[in-house]
């Protein structure tokens, strides 16, 4: 420097610059620490407990947390006090709306006031028909305790379902325990279930056997290359694979086997001609012959 300033102001300027840098570094450091803490906390809080259900029309959880301003207007416009805001310390992200189906389920209002109330679109305004809501999916989770699974006719979850016979149907199965009765199995269909939680609320057990779960817990996913043969056949109007080769059964004369359901067919006119000889040894020897042949077959 050519023109050397007097030393006092120069060191003062240096000091103030150093002070500024130091102050900035400390402030920046404090802010970074805080941000790091909150950031880690926010990573954790993205996982919503399975029992907490978002209001209808809620965006995917990650998008929802970027859109919801925690104002509670949806809570205010819910006529059934279903929705509440999570408080600090809850397992649900602080300030965000949710409901617990077992306490108060969603009543599926036709005009969807909670969605209308949302100022930010965290509850998607594109949802106009409440039947299109997908808050979660009902899953009959405890087959060991569900009364219908034991052969009783409880049916309560089925009866209260607002989308009865579409979201939940009763599927008749054979009751192998009694041998002569039917089981009416409540069966949830994901293409109609809105996740309102009325089934969970009304389950008569001490603790519910049917629960609303988030989709990612409730649903599996088919292998992407899998195709249901019968659906493809229906779509194409014909079988897409070569028809089965007619199987040759080694059956006694007068008998045949239908693979498609009838099973063993014994021709009436052949009933006189018994496949078994009068000599029991013949039958035994024949069986031994079959066994040997089967053993050879498996070796190959």
């Amino acid at each position: 420097m050519k023109t050397q300033p007097t030393s006092a102001p120069r060191s003062a300027a240096l000091n103030s610059r150093r002070k500024f840098l130091l102050d900035s570094a400390r402030a920046g450091g404090a802010a970074t620490l805080l941000a790091l803490g909150i950031g880690l906390y926010s990573r954790q809080s993205v996982s919503l407990p399975a029992s907490a259900i978002r209001p209808p029309g809620a965006l995917d959880e990650e998008d929802f947390l970027g859109a919801c301003v925690r104002c509670g207007l949806c809570v205010r416009d819910c006529p059934f006090d279903t929705l509440k805001l999570a408080t600090f310390g809850d397992r649900v992200t602080t300030g965000t709306p949710y409901f617990t189906a077992r306490d108060i389920p969603c009543e599926m209002c036709d005009d969807i006031p909670c969605v209308k109330a949302c100022p930010t679109g965290a509850l998607d305004h594109a949802l106009e028909n409440i039947d299109d809501a997908r808050m979660g999916l009902a899953v009959l989770i405890d087959e060991e305790n569900c009364l219908n699974f034991q052969g009783l006719r409880c049916d309560v979850c089925y009866r209260v379902c607002p989308v009865i016979d579409k979201a939940i149907t009763l599927e008749m199965k054979h009751n192998t325990r009694s041998g002569s009765h039917a089981l009416f199995i409540p069966t949830v269909h994901s293409d109609h279930c809105t996740g309102c939680g009325k089934c969970e609320r009304s389950c008569v057990l001490e603790d519910t056997a049917i629960r609303i779960l988030p989709f990612e817990l409730a649903k599996g996913e088919l292998g992407h290359h899998y195709r249901w043969g019968w659906k493809e056949k229906e779509k194409a109007g014909k079988s897409l694979v070569a028809p089965d080769v007619e199987h040759q059964y080694n059956l006694p004369p007068g008998q045949s086997y239908d693979l498609q359901g009838e099973g063993l067919i014994i021709k009436d006119n052949a009933s006189d001609a018994s496949p078994f000889g009068t000599n029991p040894l013949d039958t035994l020897n024949k069986n031994a012959l079959y066994e040997r042949r089967d053993a050879r077959g498996t070796q190959e």
Partner: protein
């Protein structure tokens, strides 16, 4: 610092001169405003009178006028959410309001945390707890920036997980849960750790509103600054002490140029406490017009000079 002044309760002279009521009128007005706003929000849940619904983050007046906190909207934008028109209209109304009335008017007239931190400060003065913050007052801007980056990185409005401002207001209306611990932390921070730590050093909400009101119309003016008898009461009560000096002392000898008499700093919260405690009625609310402002470099020099010349450390 002058011994007699230090021992005296700030505002005592004003009370003697003007009477208790006039010497506390802005404080009373401010508390009334804070409580009235809170009560307006509580009328619905408590009495079923729905004049306003929601909370400070977003609300709806009489089922028609939306209000939205522009800071939370900004975070939402950073988080990658495209906003609905209702939120944007609500945000613009709030922005216009505070650009006119002073950004940090929010802090002293609306924010419920102010009651907490003012209480802490009152106790701090009462029990003579000292200890200045070693943190810069600019820390809040760093935190403000950090909250926005955080929103960008996490894709969620992460700051709202811990924000004591919205947490207290929302809590009082919708249920506190464990949020009292956060509020207690802020209270203890201001009471024991350092003076005005939260509102004047750390809070990014205040920092945001401060920036919003950088050019706001309503300001506190020190038009009668010639009357100032250097009693220091305004400095003692001011939560942002650094903002007073340029306006009050900007005409003193030693200043390269004359500046003021408007408190132009964005960090002034328009709380009016300086008006209350001044026995000489130096301050009053007014517009930012008729103010001598220098270009930035000059005013920087002047404030630097003022810092050196006054010889009083008021952090």
């Amino acid at each position: 610092m002058n011994q007699t002044h230090a021992a005296r309760h700030p505002g005592a002279e004003a009370i003697a001169d003007k009477g208790w009521l006039l010497a506390n009128k802005w404080l009373l007005a401010r508390r009334s405003s804070q409580l009235a706003i809170l009560l307006l929000f509580l009328l619905g849940p408590w009495f079923g009178i729905w004049l306003i619904k929601g909370n400070l983050s977003a609300s709806l007046i009489l089922e028609t006028v939306p209000l939205t906190d522009p800071y939370i909207l900004l975070q939402s934008l950073f988080a990658g959410h495209s906003l609905e028109s209702t939120a944007i209209i609500g945000g613009l109304i709030v922005i216009a309001f505070y650009m006119l009335l002073g950004g940090r008017t929010y802090c002293s007239w609306v924010c419920p945390v102010n009651i907490i931190t003012d209480s802490a400060q009152w106790l701090r003065d009462h029990f003579k707890i000292t200890g200045a913050s070693s943190l810069s007052r600019n820390t809040r801007y760093w935190i403000l920036g950090a909250t926005l980056i955080l929103a960008l990185v996490t894709g969620s409005i992460s700051w709202e997980l811990v924000n004591p401002v919205s947490m207290l207001h929302r809590g009082l209306i919708f249920g506190m849960g464990l949020a009292w611990f956060v509020i207690l932390a802020v209270f203890l921070l201001d009471l024991l750790v350092s003076r005005r730590a939260w509102c004047s050093h750390l809070c990014p909400v205040g920092a945001f509103y401060g920036l919003l009101g950088t050019h706001s119309l309503i300001r506190i003016r020190a038009d009668a600054r010639d009357q100032c008898d250097d009693c220091m009461d305004c400095f003692k009560v001011c939560p942002e002490q650094q903002v007073i000096r340029p306006a009050l002392k900007g005409h003193m000898k030693g200043s390269a140029e004359i500046i003021g008499p408007v408190i132009t700093s964005q960090n002034c919260t328009n709380c009016g406490r300086c008006i209350d405690v001044c026995a000489k009625d130096v301050f009053h609310f007014g517009l930012r017009t008729n103010n001598i402002v220098n270009n930035t470099t000059n005013s920087k020099n002047i404030s630097k000079q003022l810092n050196h010349s006054s010889g009083v450390e008021v952090l």
